[in-house]
Amino acid sequence: MISIQNVKKVYSSLKGKVVAVDDVSMEINAGEIFGVIGYSGAGKSTLIRMLNGLEIPTAGSVTVADKQVSQIKGQELRKARQEISMIFQHFNLLWSRTVRENIAFPLEIAGIPKNIRLKRVDELIKLVGLEGREDAYPSQLSGGQKQRVGIARALANNPKVLLCDEATSALDPQTTDSILELLVDINKRLGLTIVLITHEMHVIRKICHRVAVMEDGKVVETGKVLEVFKNPQQKITKRFVSQVTEPEETKETIEHLLERYPQGTVIQLGFVGESAEQPLITNLIRNFEVTVNILQGKISQTQNGSYGTLFIHIDGEASETSKAIDFITSQQVGVEVIKHDK
């Protein structure tokens, strides 16, 4: 669906040349939710803007839905843009128009007659769950509602691709989740290809099938989300992964656990994919002479499976305990024994 070949973007400024995107190539499949993660200044904003021709690459080519976006101009580019819509971090709604009129805007641009326009707008309002707010102005809406208007507006002309530019970064966690759910829903229902850029691993974890990690204009790592979670290669990727797998208070919690359980062993288990769904603890208690105490755990879903971390406390004979640990390891579960500092 989307093919990016050796794309480079160089900006010339007074201080010299800035390479925003440096030789990036990637393929994004139809119907996929593809995430690009990176810190600000990594070049992801420029990259996503090259997908609808808002930025023209200095070198390389970008093809979206069989159109070479990096080459076409004028009328042809404008037509192509109606099939590649975009939602924004700050929603970018027209404050002078109501919800209904905002959603109708792309239809006006496409030259859809008024009666069809009104019908389509009503459908879209229902799709994004904004019934009853049709005549409100953006200033009367919450952030989440504004983004829903943005999504409805983006879907108006039945695009093939939806680009999300930090679409949830201005929203609170709960609203973020509801917008992400909406994106997954429209991806499934309409078969829409979604490309999103973000700096939050949470967003990638929740809805993306595949992810690319960007740093200094380059893509340093690409893969299925679960694979990247299981086995991050680059330092920056590990940092992003730890955003989700390790809540901030983890370190404190561990120290606290070690103090409270001077006897036995505290173990951190890492589950990925299938193994997260096995009755591991049950097997452990049935087969070994140990007591198992669950201390803290977190299991999360990604679009291609679940993964999780679990802290347990095992107590019993030293030999039984080590056998138990061997058993866990054989179940393809990551095991890390947490040592007493003393």
């Binding site: 580019l77 843009r81 700050h90 128009r97 805007f105 200033s139 507006r153």
Partner: protein
């Protein structure tokens, strides 16, 4: 009672002068609105990083606007006499004041339009472009509606300045309340006439400000 306070005021003449002032202000406000918006849009669109980025055109318009904005109005009228004569065949009467009024006010308003347009969120323009909007669509459906409160409050200020300009133009023969106040009031030492003309001008200004405020508030949904 009112005739005792203003013994020398001839009400029919005062009314005629008021209509002349309103006529000059009205026509010049409409023309300034249109020309100012065109100039302002050109200034905005040809500026760096914008859709029609063109340093040359931008500099030319900018220079033109700055020059005419800087010339004191009373001098501008005199400077424009040849042009006015060429266009209208005369330099006396309300119509003769119009070229100077418009040339004096449009550049002033053009800057206000430019400021209003610059205040539009760049993201909104980007969003319209991402939807495949043509530049004309962006102008009519994004730039103008999104800056309309600023455009209206700007034209309100300009209209009030124009009322003042008409009075000045009146002194050199354009008619209107300024002319009346000067010729009938000042030169004949009938201060009641000057006072009455001033009161009417103040009322016109207050009404313009009121209308401008009401429209601005109604338009602004932010």
């Amino acid at each position: 009672m009112i005739n005792e306070l203003f013994p020398n005021v001839k009400w029919d003449k005062m009314w005629e002068a008021t209509v002349e002032t309103l006529y000059m202000t009205g026509i010049s406000v409409v023309a300034t609105f249109i020309i100012g918006i065109i100039l302002g849009l050109l200034l905005f669109l040809t500026a760096k990083g914008n859709i029609w980025e063109n340093a040359f055109v931008n500099k030319i318009i900018s220079a033109f606007v700055n020059v005419f904005r800087s010339i004191p109005f009373i001098i501008l009228i005199v400077l424009l006499i040849p042009i006015t004569k060429f266009l209208l065949g005369t330099m006396i009467g309300e119509n003769a004041a119009l070229p100077a009024l418009i040339v004096g006010a449009a550049p002033f308003y053009a800057r206000m339009v430019e400021i209003g347009l610059r205040e539009i969120d760049k993201g909104v323009i980007e969003a319209a472009r991402s939807m495949g909007a043509k530049t004309s669509t962006i102008i009519w459906k994004v730039l103008l509606p999104e800056s309309m409160p600023a455009l209206v409050s700007g034209i309100t200020v300009t209209a009030i300045a124009l009322v003042g300009y008409t009075a000045m133009a009146g002194v050199i023969g354009a008619g209107g309340l300024g002319n009346l106040a000067y010729l009938e009031g000042f030169q004949r030492s009938r201060s009641d006439v000057t006072l009455m003309a001033t009161i009417i001008i103040l009322i016109i200004v207050f009404v313009i400000q009121f209308i401008g405020d009401v429209i601005t508030n109604k338009l602004d949904k932010r």
